[in-house]
Amino acid sequence: MLNRSRSISASEYREWLLFILLVGPNLLLFGVFTFWPLIYNAYLSFVQWDMISPVKVWVGPSNYRAMFADPSFKQVLFNTFYFTGVSVLLTTVLGLGAALLLNQPLRGRNGVRAVLFAPTVLSGAAIGIVWIYIFDPRYGLLDAMLGWFGANSPAWLTNPRWAMPAVIIVYVWKNIGYSVVIFLAGLQGIPRELYEAARVDGASAWQRFRYVTLPGLSPVMFFLVLTGFLSSFQAFDIIKTMTDGGPVDATNTLIYYLYEQGFIGFNAGRAGVAAVLLFGMMLAFTMVQMRYTERRVTYA
């Protein structure tokens, strides 16, 4: 395969030209709109700039220092991990439960699967708006249902304590179908013989789950946890429509902060820091996960 001679033959040259024609546009776009932004973001994180004036002032790491000293930015970091951690946990656990349920020979399970999956293809902004109405403390669906148990709704979206749980509920509601579908595909991939062998050995239902199902699903679960973290770090449309990061920063996560600093506050330096941190977190997360799972995950 390796051609060590320096001269390039005519046919090789033609293939090279064709390559440029076929892959070039894709790579060019990546260069301009994906790789260049990473460099430029890093640069912006070291300047002070209002995004209007022609002068950018180099300030070194002072944007970073100022942000990490700022209690509201600490709140943003806390929110990001709160939101991400809880939503990944819930989508994984509930998704696994629903997949185990729908993996049984039940009537109508395909219909239920479709209903579970439908929200994942719908606009997050539209869903956020529908849920504002559902959370409405007087006329909302949720209040009516809580009423059956003699309870009243909290003012979900205007109460700093309840706003984040509300946003998480909606995010999990929207994304759970994805986990269910992936888990179902994973369950189908576990060889039936393993279950039969376990049954012959007298394994209980719990033991079959613990020693056959879970290990068989571990690559799938790894994939879901990883992609779950990466996508919830970026969750924006639901937060923007439901709470605008509020009340008092209660649902302000890193991606929302980036948007707010850049496009409302015109503070390129802080937005740059947020972009650098967001990317760094995702990269670190991917790498740690990959290394960790190389040892722990059982590949069936």
Partner: protein
């Protein structure tokens, strides 16, 4: 074991003719849980639809009503008049069609090149693509905004479309598909004197239609729902797309007209819902394929 547990629920699975049995107690529990899941997932959607057909007074009535007393279409007309939905539709259709079209073309051509062309340092370029996969769009909004501002593309279709047109995921997906095509067919085309472009157009693409349709559908759904980038790349009502446009219904003075707003959200989600119901199998399988087959 109790006799009741021996009563079995018979069901013919769609794939084969195999009948399965579940102990009754267990089956009842399972159906109960299934109903619960159905309600949790379905009720919010039902609530949206019901509200869109309710008269204004009924929406603010306590206790709430589950079925509209006198179903009306008024909310839809009101929503359509309250915001330029015609324009939103046009913008969304244009940006979705051109954006997905570009993605499909770029993914197909790149995937072909990576699958069948031989050229020096191919692995390096492939690594670049891999790296691009790890940079989410969200991280680049600020810089890309500055770029389109410099190009004079703010509030234009190309400003919405071009920065998101490159595609890494689709390239991988299609490359896998292309590599799994039977080699004999490709060799036969070559023997018949077909060049690369000819082979791509008349052999590879027709043979990969299911994968192309799947990727196309996923791309269309993603572009239709795209929110953050069109939000920052546009600033006039004339250039807003549907997911951002409905926002305007909320911003109205005083109390929100929920019936109108729910009608507006139906405008946004209905086309995608129809596409989903029609092509459910493709979309679900395509999404699972990217994840499970490692």
């Amino acid at each position: 074991m109790a006799i009741a547990e021996d009563v079995t629920i018979l069901r013919t699975s769609s794939s084969g003719g195999r009948a399965s049995r579940l102990p009754l107690r267990y089956a009842l529990l399972s159906y109960g849980l299934m109903l619960l899941a159905l309600l949790a997932m379905g009720l919010p959607m039902y609530w949206m639809v019901a509200a869109a057909f309710k008269e204004n007074s009924e929406i603010y009535q306590i206790p709430v009503t589950w079925v509209p007393h006198a179903p009306t279409l008024e909310n839809f007309g009101r929503a359509w008049r309250a915001a330029p939905f015609g324009r939103y539709y046009l913008n969304t259709i244009i940006t979705t069609a051109l954006g997905s079209g570009a993605e499909i073309v770029l993914a197909t051509t790149s995937a072909y090149a990576f699958a069948f062309l031989r050229f020096p340092k191919k692995e390096w370029f492939f690594l670049l693509l891999l790296a691009a996969l790890m940079v989410p769009d969200q991280v680049t909004i600020l810089t890309n905004y500055l770029t389109i501002a410099r190009l004079g593309w703010v509030d234009t279709y190309q400003g919405i479309i071009v920065p998101g047109a490159a595609v890494a995921y689709g390239t991988f997906l299609l490359r896998q598909t292309f590599l799994s095509l039977p080699r004999e067919v490709l060799d036969a085309a070559r023997v018949d004197g077909a060049g690369h472009l000819r082979t791509l157009w008349s052999v590879v693409i027709p043979l990969s239609r299911p994968a192309l349709v799947t990727f196309g559908l996923i791309s269309i759904v993603a572009k239709w729902n795209n929110f953050l980038w069109p939000l920052v790349a546009t600033n006039t009502q004339e250039m807003r797309v549907l997911p951002i446009g409905i926002y305007r219904l909320l911003d109205q003075e005083g109390t929100t007209q929920w019936g109108t707003v729910m009608a507006g959200t139906i405008f946004v989600v209905l086309p995608v819902l129809i596409v989903f119901l029609w092509a459910q199998k493709h979309i679900v399988e395509g999404i699972a394929a990217g994840a499970v087959k490692g």
